[in-house]
């Protein structure tokens, strides 16, 4: 019976956001964060396949990569890098807002992160439509004649189709992750408005932050590998 009474006394402080199968908020938060780190490990392995494909293709066709990267606009890539880096800062500030219990700081920083993510996708949209227009497409859709016709120097040695295959698959998969992140931001905004998060309970916010940072980190590798080839 002693265990029963012991249980009753710990159950006295039972915050409404503590799930029934956890003993304490510390346990619940630690579990949530460990789960997210494992998921991020999974993300790294997911992208590693694409990075390996990139390395192989670049070893096979160094001259293709050198010539084809000129067709990407490094200024737009740099602008997007600025957007994402800034959004990581606002994300971190939102988590800080949760830690110091500032609803306003949480809300507006998540909003800023969402807008910066959106700006990234807008730039990406213009880059993609430009490529579509010029026939700079992946694999067998690659159309050098159309590109030449549009005044793009697409007479690239080696396998330009593979360069654009890797460009579109890598940035496309990354862009999908940005979109998912933006969806999570909207969900966070709703929950912040509802007053769900505070200094004791903000593991969701922190986990979306971790996810957003890895999306940012992947872009930090993609940008030089694709846009700044030497």
């Amino acid at each position: 019976m002693s265990q029963q009474t012991a249980h009753a006394s710990t159950a006295g402080h039972h915050p409404k956001y503590l799930a029934h199968h956890f003993e304490s908020m510390a346990q619940q938060n630690a579990a949530g964060k460990l789960g997210m780190w494992l998921f991020l490990g999974q993300e790294v392995l997911f992208f590693s396949g694409l990075f390996l494909a990139y390395i192989l293709a670049r070893i096979f066709y160094p001259e293709t990569f050198l010539a084809a990267h000129e067709l990407l606009d490094w200024k737009l890539g740099a602008l997007n890098t600025v957007f994402l880096l800034t959004s990581s800062l606002t994300m971190a500030l939102a988590v800080r807002g949760a830690q110091v219990n500032s609803q306003k700081q949480m809300y507006w920083n998540i909003m800023a992160t969402l807008i910066l993510g959106g700006a990234f996708m807008v730039v990406k949209y213009f880059e993609y439509t430009h490529k579509f227009h010029d026939g700079l497409l992946p694999g067998k859709l690659f159309d050098a004649a159309k590109a030449m016709h549009n005044g793009v120097p697409a007479n690239i040695p080696g396998a330009p189709a593979i360069f654009f295959a890797i460009y579109f698959v890598m940035t496309g998969t990354h862009g999908l992750h940005v979109l998912i992140g933006m969806g999570l931001m909207i969900w966070l905004l709703i929950r912040i408005k509802r007053g769900d998060f505070n200094s004791e309970n903000h593991v969701y916010l922190e986990n979306v932050g971790l996810y957003w940072h890895i999306v940012d980190l992947i872009w930090i590798f993609l940008f030089p590998l694709l846009y700044l080839v030497r």
Binding site: Q3, H20, A31, G35, Y61, F142
Partner: protein, 562 residues
């Protein structure tokens, strides 16, 4: 659910069998309470039903394949003499057999069903760390299975379960649907892995230190690590294959400058570790069954626990041994061959430890133990023949022959499925509250063991004589061995059918099970059979190791238990 718990009278936990508190099965009523449950025990049971259902489907495909090979020999293009199926249908049958068995049966078999059910119980937890995620994994599993089987109706797949390019990117069959199915199943696998690792790290009962964990938990831990780290590579591979087929992205297409062998590297980077996803949980099961039924401390607890982790780590570095004939460099092949031998060491440590555990024990030969013995025998053959294939020169001769088929069936079927069925016998009383018929359990084990050896040992012989795998046709001198193999497969099927019969009989009118029928010391035996909804009447506190049985005589042991 909270209120339900508080309503229970304080003295309820005194009752052990048929107590006042409802068990997890009858705590809530109606189909909807099952569809939306977040209870790990119910989800474990639902996975079990799913896995067994798909096992029946995959088994029927297997019997159809074997029946085809029983028949008269094709005359070839000139004198058309077909038996049962055309070559195209045969290709689809063995592909479906492989894909269903690997992705829908063996990978989720022990982890998703028994792991879900018993991991929290063994840890003294109320549930897994993320119960809602657990429910989602289950639906993702069903969705993936639906996609995979849907491909049957859109023309099926004839690539083999390996989906090798360039054939898979050019064949006219329904590769995209099947590949999407496997992609979705991967999500389920990853989420389950994340859930289990966090549960093991964060949800252990007070006093349950890492060296007091049952070895089943250690095995699940190693398995989950592989699930989380290897499956995403399969996901990206299959995504690339699907894009290849839809828009011709070219990364695996040599015409556009891609490399089809890259697909093999990607595929085996997942699929070799996946072999350990399939076998490690079986190791955990065998550690439990053999120790509990030997009534003594397991031999080499830490060695077995660490060898699981060692297998998980080294298992990531041996994928090239599937590709000795693919034109990879000789240096790479030699390194992969060496690492393949290295991974045999921790595996052998386990096998010797199990045998040493039985040595001098007072063995209780119940039907679970019969299955465990079958496992030891079959897995040892499967493991040792793996070394033949890891040897570079021998592999050139045996590559893509029936020797390979026999080898991995000895490991996957003789190893994992035997352990899985053994585990069902071991934990059935806990899951259902009913005992199984011991006599028929042993009869079924006999048929499974005999049928299996007849079916697959003949294939070792076929392989060394040069019979290639995946052929619907063969030379006349192979026929008698094929026929022996087919007869064995029927006996094997009969064995499993007997199991199904007495399991249903047990559910209908089986003898009521006590909470601890086998005298186990790990936490799952400390609660009712079947367990109550929240697993334990009060938070268990662990003061001993998982195998410190009361009848162990500590007076003789210089370094006895605590």
């Amino acid at each position: 659910m909270e209120s339900n718990r508080k309503n229970v009278p304080q003295g309820a936990h005194a009752a052990t069998a048929g107590g006042a508190e409802p068990n997890y099965i009858n705590a809530h009523k109606g189909i909807w309470s099952w569809m939306t449950t977040v209870d790990h025990k119910r989800l474990g049971l639902m996975y079990l039903v799913g896995v067994l259902g798909f096992f029946a489907v995959g088994g029927i495909f297997a019997l159809l394949v074997r029946t085809q090979l029983l028949g008269p020999i094709f005359k070839g293009a000139s004198g058309k003499q077909e038996w049962l199926f055309s070559g195209e249908t045969y290709n689809k049958l063995f592909t479906l057999h492989g894909a269903v068995m690997v992705f829908l049966v063996i990978i989720p078999s022990i982890p998703a069903s028994l792991g879900n059910f018993f991991l929290p119980l063994m840890l003294g937890a109320k549930d897994v760390a993320f119960p809602k995620l657990n429910l989602m994994s289950f639906y993702v599993y069903i969705l993936g299975g639906a996609f995979l089987l849907f491909s049957i109706f859109t023309g099926a797949v004839d690539t083999g379960w390996t989906f090798y390019t360039p054939y898979s990117s050019t064949t006219s069959t329904s590769v995209v649907s099947a590949v999407l199915g496997v992609f979705i199943l991967g999500f389920s696998s990853i989420l389950t892995g994340v859930n289990f690792i966090v549960t093991i790290h964060k949800m252990r009962a007070p006093g349950l230190t890492w060296v007091r964990l049952p070895l089943f938990v250690w095995a699940q831990y190693a398995t989950s690590l592989i699930q989380v780290l290897a499956t995403p590579v399969l996901a990206i591979t299959l995504m690339l294959l699907a894009i290849e087929r839809t828009i011709g992205v070219g990364i695996f297409d040599p015409k556009l400058g891609g490399d089809p062998v890259l697909f093999q590297h990607f595929f085996w980077f997942y699929s070799h570790p996946a072999v350990y996803i399939m076998i490690l949980p079986a190791f955990g099961v065998i550690s439990e069954i053999i120790t509990i039924n030997s009534r003594k401390q397991i031999f080499g607890y830490k060695a077995i626990a660490m060898s699981s982790v060692a297998i998980a780590v080294i298992g990531f570095l041996v994928w090239g041994h599937h590709m000795f004939t693919s034109g990879q460099s000789e240096l790479a092949a030699a390194v992969f061959s060496f690492l393949t031998f290295a991974v045999a060491v921790p595996t052998a440590i386990k096998t010797f430890s199990w045998v040493a555990t039985m040595y001098g024990g007072s063995l209780r030969m119940n039907s679970a133990m019969w299955y465990a013995q079958a496992f030891l025998f079959l897995f040892t053959i499967g493991g040792l023949t793996g070394l033949f294939l890891g040897t570079l020169s021998v592999d050139i001769h045996l590559h893509d022959t029936y020797f390979v088929v026999a080898h991995f069936h000895y490991v996957m079927m003789g190893g994992t499925m035997t352990a899985f069925v053994g585990a069902l016998h071991h934990w059935w009383p806990k899951m259902t509250g009913r005992m199984l018929n011991e006599f028929w359990g042993k009869v079924s084990c006999f048929f499974v063991f005999a049928g299996f050896n007849i079916a697959f040992f003949s294939q070792f012989v076929l392989g060394t004589k040069g019979m290639p795998r995946r052929y619907a046709n063969y030379l006349p001198e192979f026929q008698y061995l094929h026929q022996i193999s087919t007869i064995g497969s029927y006996l094997l099927g009969l064995g499993f059918f007997i199991t199904l019969c007495y399991m249903i009989q047990s559910l209908i009118n089986g003898e009521k099970a006590p909470p601890n029928p086998w005298g186990g010391r790990s936490l799952e035996w400390e609660t009712d059979s079947p367990p109550i909804e929240h697993n334990f009447h009060h938070q268990p506190v662990v003061t001993h190791g998982p195998y410190e049985f009361p009848e162990i005589d500590h007076s003789q042991a210089p370094r006895g238990g605590h």
